[in-house]
């Protein structure tokens, strides 16, 4: 049985299950729980050029079947990652995909070139970040802006470039097309959905940052729809992200058109879920007599 999937030239995952950015840190903690070599790929916490402190606490809040986070992209910065974390992380024999972000086009481009080092298998560009020059509107909310941003980054890296779309847009298909036109090799679809929580007793927002992003099972039906929509609009591989907790969820995302699936919030709740998910997919393929994961990708039968 062949569980491998191809995401970009030179980027083949041994199975379609990845960690998600921001719920796996830089891998150290999980490596004490299970062999990271089992994963299809590792996606790191989002990195910026310089270390970033993040938002005031509280940064997370539980909601029905989900959670809102407003971590604020706290990270150690690209250099500290490359020197301090990458050497161990690449030793597991699993592709290391580095998530990154900036606050201007130049930031992104500079960071992309900084990340063009050995041991990084691909880079995943988080575009759910305020564009400081555009009055704070997120890069991922305007196809023009996204096209230019992707092009600027593409010009500075030889790595496979994955663009991670923001879900809350009027036309996700257009965003995916813009990313593809700008030179993306693959799309991650999608990120957390903007959300907030209010304490009716104190009349205050619960999160230190007021608003945050919703993730977990609550949003899976939305993510599934976005993946399906994107898969009809672009021919590059899609990595699904949003609420996947079980192998069943992953198979659904594959059928909708994803080539791989990131597991985020589920691994906060159940850090050992990765192995269950991977074996679950294997058993599913076996029980259906399928030779390859690719036999599932985009195979949804619509009327």
């Amino acid at each position: 049985m062949n569980t491998s999937v191809r995401i970009a030239p030179g980027l083949v995952l041994k199975n379609p299950v990845l960690s998600a950015s921001g719920t796996f840190a830089y891998g150290e903690e999980f490596s004490r729980l299970f062999d990271l070599g089992l994963l299809g790929g590792i996606v790191t916490k989002g990195l910026s050029l310089n270390p970033k402190e993040g938002n005031p606490l509280p940064r997370v809040y539980e909601t029905p079947c989900g959670l809102i986070n407003a971590i604020g992209l706290e990270n150690i910065g690209a250099d500290a990652f490359i020197s301090g974390k990458l050497p161990e992380l690449r030793s597991f024999g699993t592709p290391v995909i580095v998530n990154f972000f900036g606050s201007s086009e130049e930031d992104y481009a500079l960071l992309a070139s900084r990340l063009d080092v050995n041991g990084i298998a691909a880079i995943e560009m988080n575009v759910s970040c305020p564009n400081v020059k555009q009055g704070g509107l997120e890069f991922g909310r305007d196809p023009e802006v996204l096209f230019r941003l992707t092009g600027a980054v593409r010009a500075r890296t030889g790595k496979p470039l994955i663009v991670k779309l923001t879900p809350m847009v009027s036309d996700i298909g257009a965003m995916a097309q813009a990313a593809r036109a700008g030179g993306a090799d693959a799309i991650t679809c999608a990120n957390t959905i903007p959300a907030m929580a209010i304490d009716e007793h104190t009349w205050r927002p619960v999160l230190g940052n007021v608003t945050g992003g919703l993730s977990g099972p609550a949003i899976k039906p939305v993510a599934l729809k976005l993946v399906w929509e994107v898969s009809k609009k672009v021919d590059i591989p899609i990595i699904a992200s949003g609420g996947a907790c079980t192998w069943n969820d992953c198979v659904q995302f594959l059928l909708a058109g994803a080539s791989a699936v990131e597991i985020g919030s589920a691994s906060l709740r159940d850090p050992l879920c990765f192995t269950d998910i991977i074996t679950g997919i294997e058993h599913y393929l076996e029980s259906r007599g399928l030779d390859s994961v690719t036999d599932l990708i985009g195979k949804l039968e619509t009327p």
């Binding site: 921001g22 719920t23 796996f24 840190a25 150290e28 903690e29 999980f30 004490r32 729980l33 916490k45 402190e53 993040g54 005031p56 606490l57 509280p58 940064r59 997370v60 809040y61 539980e62 909601t63 029905p64 079947c65 989900g66 959670l67 986070n69 971590i71 706290e74 230190g208 977990g216 099972p217 907790c245 919030s265 691994s267 906060l268 709740r269 159940d270 850090p271 050992l272």
Partner: protein, 253 residues
């Protein structure tokens, strides 16, 4: 650390809105101050696990003590003997025992008793100040009183047991009256910890605090619980929960 299945053996109210739960569970050995991430429900409606300190650990057994706060602890309180739970642990660091002849001053309030009591039981000497609103809010008084070598000072806001006032009032007096060097170990509301830190500073006592912050993972991967310290940002779950109080940037949050 590992994710292990625990079987509920007992689960009973031991003070107002406070429950003591006994579990059968093959957890790795833990140290006072360490905690668990408890999966309170198999339903993902309550998505996050809840951080709870390890009150006691025996051969294949665990003890936790929790206050009813919201949905998660309510769900816990409904568990009956025979029910099962997943617990991830042991997590975090631990208190460092008194050194060089320090006498130990334990201070607990709110949900902070479990780690402090775990440590006091291990250390077996010193003084334990337990603060609460009222007598009925203080659990396990018998157990505290039976700790040989540990003097117990209950403090209540309404004066219904022990001194009337705040736990830190008594801490201040104990520090003032101490003959030699002291180590203060505190867990409870942030205001109490900050005060304990301040009093310890004045008395040149070493002070360790166990912090409580909202957590998502509990093992260091999500950065939900990062606090500012003089040594830079630190994750309460994996760099703590126990910190040298003097390093905490109390003003920032």
């Amino acid at each position: 650390m590992n994710d292990v299945l625990a079987v509920v053996k007992g689960n009973r109210a031991v003070a107002r809105d406070t429950f003591l739960m006994d579990l059968d569970c093959a957890l790795e050995p833990s140290l006072p101050g360490q905690f668990l991430m408890v999966k309170v429900s198999s339903s993902c409606e309550l998505f996050l696990r809840r951080p709870l300190a390890i009150l006691g650990q025996g051969e294949g057994t665990l003890e936790i003590l929790y206050k009813l706060k919201g949905e998660g602890t309510l769900e816990l309180s409904r568990k009956k003997p025979g029910d099962v739970l997943w617990v991830l642990g042991p997590l975090g660091n631990c208190f460092s025992p008194p050194q060089n002849g320090e006498s130990a001053l334990f201070v607990a309030g709110g949900t902070g008793l479990p780690p402090v009591l775990a440590l006091a039981s291990r250390v077996g000497s010193g003084a334990l100040v337990i603060g609460a609103r009222s007598k009925g809010d203080i659990p396990l008084l018998d157990r505290m009183n039976s700790l040989k070598g540990v003097a117990v000072y209950p403090v209540t806001e309404d004066g219904s047991l022990g001194r009337r006032g705040m736990a830190t009032d008594v801490l201040g007096e104990l520090l003032a009256g101490a003959a030699g060097p002291c180590a203060v170990y505190a867990c409870g509301p942030r205001g109490m910890l900050e005060k304990a830190c301040e009093l310890s500073g004045v008395a040149a006592a070493r002070c360790e605090v166990s912090l409580e912050e909202y957590m998502a993972c509990g093992f260091g991967v999500c950065s939900a619980c990062t606090v500012k310290t003089s040594a830079g940002p630190r994750r309460v779950c994996s760099n703590g929960p126990v910190f040298d109080a003097a390093t905490i940037a109390w003003g920032a949050r």
